[in-house]
């Protein structure tokens, strides 16, 4: 590494996790800038690999939905993808020529359902999918399994609601659905079904300053109205009827309070600035991987991408990392 590193620009971002559940995380990212935060967001949404059904061979389908429809619905079922980082993309799997039926790059599923004599419609759900690999299965199956083991619900959902699975199709008496499906590793950039993120978003941490001097000139009623002018609950009146910041992060940068202050003829009553170097992330996952894995994998992927850029400079041979780079 003979390139000089601009040490003066180097920063050491800090992360503070506020809340971490299996499919939800909230953390602060400090001492870095928007490009970094946005890169993390983008990678979490589009480039953290998961496993999803990608190839469906339909043997029998006499349901009301056509083959492509069912295949599409199967693809969108989140599968537990904790192992996805270690898996290979089937396009560059050496073991199987990319036909998708090997242990390194794919998982096979089977589904066979037939509505027999009952008059009720049979609901074919993700619970009817039989995985050939216990590590990869529909997320709600995994949840049910964990519950059966006696453990608490890892996702924090209310346990009273029985696990019904994700509905694929409803069958009438005599209708049948039989298929083989192959799940593969992929990233959200290629198709949204591989995206592990339900929502990833960040906001700049707001820096709210109340001009106490001006505030004193307001009546209590005016203060109350000022507080109510914000659609989200950012301010509150304390016991001494002073306007204080209740929840700064509820602020949506909608400028409603500032506009209200201007309308009162008191500009500068409240000053809100975004802190350019601290971000509050909210991450929700589809359940394919946990929120923690999503963040960690995203960082790994991001690091790999950066490595690839560095490598590109050296010899241009990107190897497997090229896949993560995407684009030219």
């Amino acid at each position: 590494m003979d390139r000089p590193v601009g040490a003066s620009y180097q920063r050491f971002p800090r992360v503070r996790i506020r809340d971490l559940k299996d499919d939800y995380a909230k953390f602060e990212l400090r001492d870095t800038d928007a490009s970094m935060a946005n890169a993390l967001r983008r990678v979490m949404i589009a480039e953290v690999p998961t496993v999803a059904i990608d190839l469906v061979e339909i043997e029998v389908n006499s349901s009301v939905l056509n083959d492509e429809f069912i295949a599409h619905r199967l693809g969108l079922i989140p599968l537990t993808s904790a192992a996805a980082m270690q898996m290979r993309f089937s396009r560059d799997c050496d073991a199987c020529d990319g036909d998708g039926s090997c242990e390194y790059c794919s998982v096979e599923f089977h589904l066979a359902a037939r509505a027999t004599d009952s008059d009720q419609t049979l609901e074919v759900t993700s619970n009817d999918l039989r995985s050939m690999d216990p590590k990869v299965c529909p997320v709600d199956q995994a949840r049910a399994y964990q519950q059966a083991l006696g453990g608490t619900d890892p996702f924090g959902a209310n346990t009273s609601n029985e696990n019904r699975g994700i509905l694929i199709v409803k069958l009438r008496r005599g209708q049948e659905l039989r298929l083989r499906a192959i799940a593969r590793k992929g990233i959200g950039k290629d198709h949204a079904k591989w995206s592990p993120a339900a929502t990833v978003t960040f906001m700049y941490e707001p820096d709210i300053r109340i001009n106490e001097e001006l505030m004193e000139t307001l009546t209590v009623e005016e203060r109350r109205r000022l507080i109510e002018s914000s659609p989200t609950k950012v301010f509150k009146l304390d016991s001494a009827n002073q306007v204080v910041v209740d929840n700064a992060e509820a602020y949506t940068y909608d400028d409603e309070v500032i506009k209200h202050a201007e309308a009162l003829g008191k500009p500068g009553l409240v000053e809100i600035n975004a802190k350019e170097d601290s971000f509050i992330f909210t991450v929700e996952t589809t359940g394919a991987i946990t929120a923690y894995e999503l963040i960690m994998n995203a960082i790994t992927v991001l690091r790999q991408k950066l490595d690839a850029v560095r490598l590109q400079d050296d010899d241009g041979d990107l190897g497997e990392l090229g896949a993560h780079l995407g684009g030219p």
Binding site: S35, E68, H72, G188, K193, S195, T201, Y253, D254
Partner: protein, 1169 residues
């Protein structure tokens, strides 16, 4: 599921079904009995045979099966491409020489049966049964199935029946010398719905002529003769009855319709008759009889008086039976004509709905069937007479022989009806008094539900008007308020001619609200009695002595009942309106009380009552009579509406309230909109053309065309994979169960200018949203392959697969038909046909450029002796949204997808993390002013947060019950607090962050869910691209046409553009190198382009090469000029091939085209001659 669930939907289709029901119930018999018996006289023996049609029978559709006769269901007809028809029989009586009548029942073939009519097997079926039989649960019927096609009779506008209209038309001048442009026109309709139009022309000399059409030409009779021929009236009586409406004492006061000129005119009318020395009624009849005997069919042998009586019966005021009534009406028409001439009454506007009614399917079929039966009688008679003339021993009493002749043409009757429905052509000798001969039926396309409904609610003005230059017929007139939708008409060619009935508009029928056939005779009696009670003087003896303004004439369905004093008439009208509302008064609820008040040279005053069917009617609330809720709903027609005071909640008092207090009130302002126009949310906040565009586009959306799609065999069906119900909807949406056929998706729409790919009505779709299934769709195409008709040279062909073929990879199964679920790629075989003569198996390949899935294969008539010959193959093509597909919101805001943008690059909201599904440009709003779309976005956002649907019925503000001043008045102020309560911006804006940079965007972005529709116009059906390919045989230029892989024409204007740019190289490339580049051999000696012939090169060199094993080099071709007999001057010149073709064409005309060649460096500039 109950049948009533869809009663609102059924109501929309009622005019179609009811009119056909009446045809089956009573109309058929009535029509058959109205056909004049045919008398055949044997000139040899003077024996006569009378053929009387007595009764018709139509049976339910049946089919033959091995286990006997089974009911035929519509679904089978669609599948097998046959007609849903039932047997049609007529009882015919033969009377030989006044002897006893002998009845025979003849089979006249099959009549198409309207779905859901009384003979349809599905009539009254509940949704379960309908679904069981492969129909929609909502199936409403109203159409016919002919050869598998669903066709319905188009409702046409006709002149209002039995009402004399005063018209001014320049075309009347052409009737002859002395004619003026003024006439009173009446369209008289008989009980069997056939009609005869009559015109009473005004002559310059003050007289009038009565004109009617008979046998293809117009006959014009002096009105005096007709008056005298109708009844035994003296000249004095005629004079007084004509002039009674004039009185000196009124001068030019209100309501005076006559001037003193009327006396002179009456004199002229009478003198005309006297000049022909016709003094008595008999003389007049004989005069008419002489004139008409040659043209009246079947009266060749009768005396003049009988002929004249027949003319009066069949052509003069056919809606009346009594000659006194006819006389009175004619007098009235003359008075109206003179009032029109003297401008004491204004002319009526023939384009106004006030003077119009509808042509209904049942009526059309009755009229046409009558014509066909008469034609059959004529043909049969001709056959018999020919036989009588040929065969001396032929006896008319020989029933067996007669039967043979009579049955010869029976099937032509039903065949004509079926073909009329199939192609819409009325093939009748006379025009049947119909406005047009073709285009009577249209196909009921099930592209989506909006389009389907619109077909049945559409009303066409007539194809004759489409060609007219003037636009006055297309004008939106105030008379159609509440009956025809002002919004729902297509723009462009049929604009204003093809209208749609409003959602509340109905058409009066033969049935009353309890479904019982109305008794018109009873009604007439009751009405007269009631009228007499309120002060009407019946016209009983014969002649009346007064006229307006003292008394007003009372007409009932074109018959003058009597007169009523103008002072008491308002009371009488109110009384009649009360009776209309009373359930058991016997007065029909849809009685039209057309009270035309006295005015200063306005419409001719009178009280015109109508009970007849085929009138437009609509409900309004009567304010004064019985205001106890339900009972106060009165049905009014367009004729009376023009003279009524109806208040609309949206309209205020219109400044008339004090002088003319409202007597009625609109039930809801949306009553003026059609079903489709009613579905636009808050359409009262949009610029009106946008609502019109939305009506257009709603009918082009790709939605759920039907839930029974699996059983349907439409040639092309569009289907949206995952449609949604709109969050923001109007009351109409629920009323008509639109959730059964949804047509769009609630897309999160951000209004911002992002990336530049949303300029000029383009829109950006979120790729991930599309990945997750938004706007995904399919096209289903059914191919019906019928080998029994297609086979060439009458060689039977069947579906089969070669036994030798072991190929299991192909899509063709062992029976020659494709396997279900198989993918077929373009140019791949998908079924094969076995020729039984040659034994050759001919595979058929898939056309087009898209792969298709085999969705469904059905075999028709399996087990027929020829084997597998008829099959329906349904192909499914996947249509996921791609760049170039068209989408639109419900506010006439269409756009084309310009990019499938990656999710991560889309702007996102910091607090919710939402990315929009769709981005449109803010420039779409300022000029189009579709405020409702912005409201919809806000409302849907609030609604989805709140978890409820938002009612977006237009004009809701004006009908609001509580006018609480504290409550917000605008929709924004209702929605804003809702949004704010969930922590969102009051106006629906949000702070978004750039997806690419992660930075906050300077402006707040308007974002929210909007219901978007995918339109059926897709690039996959439209793109056209070519590099090389087929060329035209003659010109060697690329062919045109997308289907054949042709190119897009580079025309003159495109050429001009390139010339203007000076890009000559490109021009040369496009028009020459890439087109018909050709190197021609030209003889420079004679300058001919055509005389070059090839000389055989000496093969020695080639042989030598071959012997030595050297590669054979193609010897240069040698050309010689045929004319000059030398190859000396041959040169090669590059030119377009068409130029050579031009030379050849010119040569064929003996013109020589000579080229003078020179080098570029040549001294002479090249010349061509």
């Amino acid at each position: 599921m109950s049948a009533d669930q869809y009663s609102a939907l059924r109501e929309l289709f009622r005019p179609h079904v009811e009119s056909f029901d009446y045809f089956l119930d009573k109309g058929l018999d009535e029509m058959i009995q109205s056909i004049r018996p045919m008398v055949i006289r044997d000139p040899n023996s003077n024996n006569t045979l009378k053929i009387i049609l007595e009764k018709g029978h139509v049976l339910s559709p049946m089919r033959d099966a091995r286990s006997g006769v089974l009911p035929l269901y519509p679904q089978e007809c669609r599948q097998a491409r046959i007609t849903y028809h039932g047997e049609f029989k007529v009882d015919v009586c033969f009377q030989y020489n006044e002897g006893a009548q002998i009845r025979h029942t003849f089979n006249f073939g099959h009549l198409p049966i309207m779905l859901m009519s009384k003979l349809c097997h599905l009539r009254g079926a509940d949704p379960h049964k309908l679904v069981f039989h492969g129909e929609e649960a909502t199936e409403m019927g109203g159409y016919f199935i002919c050869g598998g096609m669903e066709r319905l009779v188009r409702i046409l506008i006709l002149q209002k029946r039995n009402y004399p209209m005063g018209l001014v038309r320049s075309s009347f001048l052409k009737r002859g010398a002395g004619y003026t442009d003024k006439a009173v026109v009446i369209r008289c309709v008989q009980r069997d719905q056939s009609s005869v139009s009559m015109k009473l022309y005004y002559l310059q000399n003050g007289s009038a002529r009565l004109g009617f059409w008979l046998g293809g030409r117009e006959f014009l009779l002096p009105v005096g003769i007709v008056l005298k021929a109708l009844i035994d009236a003296s000249d004095r009586e005629i004079f007084t009855s004509l002039t009674c409406c004039f009185s000196d004492k009124h001068g030019k006061g209100k309501g005076v319709v006559s001037t003193q000129l009327i006396g002179e005119r009456a004199q002229i009318v009478l003198d005309e008759v006297r000049n022909l020395s016709l003094l008595t009624r008999t003389q007049c009849l004989v005069h008419i009889g002489q004139y008409f005997r040659s043209v009246m069919e079947g009266f060749e042998k009768d005396d003049y008086e009988t002929v004249a009586e027949a003319v009066l019966k069949d052509y003069i005021f056919v809606h009346l039976e009594n000659n006194h009534d006819k006389f009175n009406l004619l007098i009235f028409m003359l008075q109206k004509l003179y009032a029109l001439v003297d401008q004491t009454a204004s002319p009526d506007n023939a384009d106004a709905l006030q003077y119009q009614e509808a042509l209904l399917p049942g009526h059309l079929i009755t009229i046409f069937l009558k014509d066909r039966l008469q034609d059959w009688l004529r043909k049969s008679k001709r056959l018999i007479i020919e036989e009588v003339a040929k065969n001396k021993g032929f006896d008319l009493g020989n029933a067996l022989e007669i039967r043979k002749f009579v049955t010869k043409y029976t099937s032509s009757v039903s065949r004509a009806i079926e073909s009329m429905i199939k192609v819409g052509k009325v093939n009748a000798q006379s025009g049947l008094d119909l406005p047009q001969r073709d285009g009577m039926t249209i196909q009921a396309e099930r592209l989506n539900f909006h389009r389907y409904i619109s077909h049945f609610r559409s009303v066409h003005r007539g194809s004759a008007f489409a060609k007219m230059r003037t636009t006055s017929v297309r004008k939106l007139l105030p008379e159609s308020w509440g009956f025809l939708c002002p919004v729902h008409t297509p723009d462009g060619e049929p604009c204003g001619l093809l209208n749609h009935m409003t959602s509340t508009c109905r058409i009066s029928s033969f049935y009353n609200s309890e479904g019982v056939v109305k008794n018109f005779g009873e009604m007439k009696k009751l009405l007269s009695a009631e009228l007499v009670r309120v002060g009407m003087n019946p016209v009983l003896p014969k002649i009346e002595r007064t006229g307006p303004p003292e008394v007003l004439h009372v007409h009932l369905d074109g018959r003058i009942l009597g007169t009523i004093a103008s002072a008491t008439i308002e009371k009488a009208v109110n009384y009649l309106r009360t009776l209309k509302l009373l359930a058991h008064s016997g007065i029909p609820e849809d009685l039209e009380v057309g009270y035309v008040p006295l005015s200063f040279s306005g419409a001719f005053p009178g009280l015109y009552l109508f009970t007849n069917p085929a009138r437009f009617v609509r409900p309004v609330r009567n304010l004064f009579i019985l205001s106890d809720g339900k009972q106060s709903i009165e049905l009014i027609g367009p004729f009376e509406q023009a003279f009524m005071e109806i208040r609309c909640p949206d309209g205020g008092d219109g400044g008339r309230q004090e002088q003319f207090p409202a007597t009625h009130e609109e039930i809801h302002p949306t009553a003026i909109l059609s079903v489709v126009a009613n579905l636009t949310p808050w359409s009262d906040h949009n610029q009106s053309p946008r609502n019109m565009y939305q009506c257009q586009m709603a009918k082009q959306t790709m939605g759920f065309c039907g839930q029974a799609l699996k059983f349907r065999t439409d040639v092309k069906a569009f289907h949206l994979q995952t449609p949604q119900t709109p969050i923001v909807r109007t009351g109409t949406y629920n009323k008509y169960n639109m959730d059964e056929f949804p047509s769009g998706t609630n897309a999160i729409v951000a209004v911002l200018s992002y990336t530049g790919y949303d300029m000029e009505d383009a829109m950006i779709l979120n790729k991930s949203a599309v990945d997750r299934g938004m706007f995904r769709g399919h096209i289903y195409q059914t191919e019906c392959i019928d080998l029994s008709t297609k086979s060439r040279d009458n060689v039977p062909e069947t579906f089969a697969k070669s036994v030798l073929s072991r190929d299991t990879s192909s899509a063709i199964d062992s029976d020659g038909l494709p396997r279900l679920g198989q993918t077929v790629h373009p140019n791949e075989q998908y079924y094969s046909v076995h020729n039984s003569l040659t034994g050759v198996i001919r595979p058929v390949r898939l056309k087009g450029t898209e792969p298709a899935f085999i969705d469904y294969v059905a075999v028709n008539g399996a087990g027929s002796k020829h084997g597998l010959q008829k099959a329906n193959i349904r192909l499914r093509r996947v249509r996921n949204p791609i760049i170039g597909d068209k989408f639109s919101s419900r506010h006439g805001q269409k756009g084309v997808c310009s990019q499938l943008w990656p999710d991560i690059d889309m702007p996102f909201s910091a607090n919710t993390g939402m990315r929009p599904d769709l981005i449109i440009n803010p420039h779409a709003f300022p000029s189009r002013m579709t405020i409702a779309m912005l409201l919809e976005s806000m409302a849907a956002k609030a609604g989805s947060l709140h978890g409820k649907f938002i009612d977006a019925t237009p004009f809701a503000n004006s009908v609001k019950q509580d006018k609480d001043p504290r409550k917000p008045n605008s929709i924004v102020d209702e929605l804003g607090p809702m949004l704010a309560s969930y922590g969102f911006n009051y106006h629906g804006k949000e702070v978004l962050y750039s997806g690419v940079f992660g930075t906050e965007m300077d402006c707040e972005i308007f974002i929210g869910p909007v219901y978007y529709q995918r339109l059926r116009h897709m690039v996959s059906d439209k793109f056209q691209v070519r590099t090389t390919g087929r060329i035209d045989q003659i010109t060697r230029q690329p062919i045109g046409g997308r289907k054949h892989g042709g190119g897009i024409r580079f025309g003159e204007m495109e050429r001009d553009a390139l010339l203007a740019h000076g890009s000559s190289y490109l021009l040369h490339d496009r028009l020459h190198s890439c087109s018909d580049y050709h190197i021609a051999d030209v003889c420079s000696l004679c300058g001919s382009l055509l005389t070059a012939t090839m000389i055989e090169s000496n093969n020695q060199k080639k042989a030598k090469h071959e012997m030595l094993g050297l590669p054979t080099v193609r010897p240069p071709k040698n050309f010689a000029c045929q004319a000059c007999k030398t190859s000396k001057g041959m040169e090669t010149v590059a030119m377009p091939y068409v130029f050579r073709y031009l030379a050849a064409e010119l040569a064929a005309m003996n013109i020589k085209l000579e080229l003078r060649l020179s080098n570029k460096s040549g001294l002479l500039p090249s010349q061509e001659s």
